[in-house]
């Protein structure tokens, strides 16, 4: 506990030293409130229940001193290849170390009423200012506060009512920092009534330095809008990635998200869903492949505050070789939220006894007329199934791969964009068959 304040106090000092610089009035106030809340919350302590299996304080303490908000981004010779998705015809946004790269991005051809903005350049944009931090602060943790306190870089996607964005929006986030660094990208998505958009995020690292990404995405989905979101996280072993997502839905909207984590380092995905109106549909899913010491933690909270909504949650993953997986999914059905259909499932395959999966599904129901189910299973690869395939002449490694791909298939089937699905399939196949 002696250096309990090391990282917090550095962050607080850093915040003080740049307070007032390049901030307009409204944003300055919300940043000031966020840093206060961050200070009050503090980096979660080791005994924190919510971080029980991901001792973030210890993880951060072990990292070298981080360069907060690294300057001097150099994009010369940057290879975007790994985070490009073959065959995906998309509007493209590139963020390097969290910062929007206009020259590497291409958002031409957006329909009227849809805008993709560099957050740094749009801190006085009416819509941005109105919606940033507009998903509320309930159940927000220290890391979301931290991102909000420093918010500056990232991307804003603003789609007006009735506008259908015809092509998916690909956001390539690459961390290139050569020194230990903290990067804090922000994604703001504001989707007007009856609008439609598809977002694909690919997060990768290009360097070998130890980096902490503290990302925060906020989505506002208005009545009748249909939004589909995929986030693929594939980073190196020295990367720690905290990924906060908050999704606010108006009644009659449909929001889907699928987070695919294949990182070699530490990842914490924490998602908060507030379907705040009747007849919302919320589809949340994720797949994790943790190999060789990786640590992947998925935390979700679906807060059913309004009646007549549907949510469907499916998280699946595969673990091997000294890896750790964590799933904590909570579905909260508040007293007035009658006629809710909420389903949750978590399934993991642990391939050897050096790896661990901690799964904790939680249902908290205060309404009486609801249909909810949840379940979690963790097991090894089915030996009888493996034998069946081998008994048909299929070699053991091929049989194993076939079964693991079959295991992952229903959650990956939720990826609607065919080239993205193919990209993820290929990635997982190559990782699983590398031995």
């Amino acid at each position: 506990m002696s250096d309990r304040n090391s990282i917090e106090s550095r962050l607080l000092q850093e915040w003080e030293s740049r307070a007032g610089s390049a901030m307009n009035g409204r944003l300055h106030d919300s940043r000031a409130e966020a840093i206060k809340r961050f200070r009050d919350a503090g980096i979660p302590a080791l005994r924190s229940e919510a971080w029980k299996y991901t001792p973030i304080r210890r993880i951060l303490d072990r990292m070298p001193t981080l360069d907060i908000d690294p300057e001097g981004i150099n994009t010369d010779g940057l290879d975007l290849g790994a985070s490009t998705i073959e065959g995906l015809d998309a509007y493209r946004v590139v963020l390097v170390d969290g910062r929007f790269q206009a020259d590497l991005s291409d958002v031409t051809g957006l329909p009227k009423g849809a805008r993709i903005l560099d957050l740094r350049e749009s801190s006085s944009d009416e819509d941005v200012v109105r919606h940033l931090d507009g998903t509320g602060t309930e159940a927000r943790d220290a890391f979301a506060e931290l991102n909000s306190a420093f918010v500056q870089d990232g991307v804003a996607i603003l789609v007006d009512a009735g506008v259908i964005v015809p092509r998916p929006i690909l956001i390539q986030q690459i961390v290139t920092a050569q020194k230990p660094s903290l990067v804090q990208p922000r994604l703001l998505g504001v989707f007007g009534r009856n609008s439609q958009a598809r977002l694909v995020e690919v997060c990768s690292t290009a360097g070998q330095a130890e980096v902490l990404t503290n990302a925060f995405s906020e989505f506002h989905t208005a009545t009748g809008a249909v939004i589909d979101h995929v986030r693929l996280i594939d980073e190196h072993a020295g990367a720690v990635h905290i990924n906060n997502l908050r999704s606010y839905q108006e009644g009659g909207s449909n929001f889907s998200t699928n987070v695919i984590t294949v990182s070699a380092g530490t990842v914490r995905n924490q998602s908060y869903f507030l379907p705040d109106g009747e007849h919302c549909e919320t589809h949340l899913s994720g797949f994790y492949l943790a190999q060789d010491g990786a640590h992947i933690d998925n935390h979700t909270l679906v807060d059913h505050a309004k009646p007549e909504c549907y949510s469907n949650e499916l998280f699946k993953g595969i673990l091997e070789n000294k890896s750790v997986g964590v799933f904590n999914g909570k579905v909260l059905v508040r007293q007035d939220a009658q006629k809710i259909n909420a389903y949750q499932s978590n399934k993991s395959v642990v391939l050897d006894d050096t790896s661990r999966m901690y799964s904790k599904p939680e249902l908290e129901i205060y309404a009486d007329d609801v249909r909810c189910s949840h379940g979690a299973t963790t097991g090894e690869l089915d030996k009888d199934a493996l034998f069946y395939l081998q008994a048909r002449g299929i070699r053991q490694d091929a049989a194993r791969l076939m079964l693991l791909e079959a295991f992952a298939s229903d959650v990956l089937d939720r990826i609607k964009e065919e080239p993205v699905r193919a990209h993820v399939d290929q990635l997982i196949r190559s990782r699983l068959s590398r031995n």
Binding site: D382, D384, F387, Y388, Q390, A391, R392, I394
Partner: protein
Amino acid sequence: MLEITNLHASIEDEEKEILKGINLRVGAGEVHAIMGPNGSGKSTLASILAGRDGYEITQGSINFEGDDLLEMDPDERAREGLFLAFQYPVELPGVNMSTFLRHAVNSVREHRGQDELSAVDFLKLMKEKAGLVHLDPSLKSRAVNEGFSGGEKKRSEIFQLAMLEPKLAVLDETDSGLDIDALRIVSDGVNQLRSPERSFVVITHYQRLLDYITPDFVHVLVDGRIVKSGGKDLALKLEELGYDWIKEDAVVA
């Protein structure tokens, strides 16, 4: 083709011996039926032939086409031409039937030095072989065995047998769970697959199946031993008298 000599086997990590000295010789093109009471070791023998792990072979040997079968991995045995139609085929959710079979067929073909089948040829082959056991064509686009009825699972096993064209097929109670019509259809399918080069070991409880698939030899397995062998008439006698007279015989002998 197959020669089992003095085979003793027990369940790994358990004292209990299940097979207590099996001797069996199956020549090319022959059909052997194995009958015997529940728990006598018939499925254990089939599993050991196919290479399932979890058994300890304490004595004896199995020779298949001149090679030591016990030295081979299960997939190798299958590629060498051994096929087991399972008593309880497992369901494989998410594994598409045609993808699975294409992989299996091509593994076997590669081993035999044949070219991979093209997509078109593969579909043709599937269609032809599915017809053999009147397999509902929609099953081919489903996940392997998932949600198949008991009878459909058994037909699907024989369909796979037809696709893989093994030298030796072991059928473990393929008749149980089949209705009368299905029994005839499946038996017809098996009969069409009979050839001078292909042998069958048919495990069954019922003489009825042997009315359709006429065996060259019938063996009775009791408590881990083949206690009696004979021609197809032996099955008729068993149907009539049960196993007790043999058990008594065995004790006396």
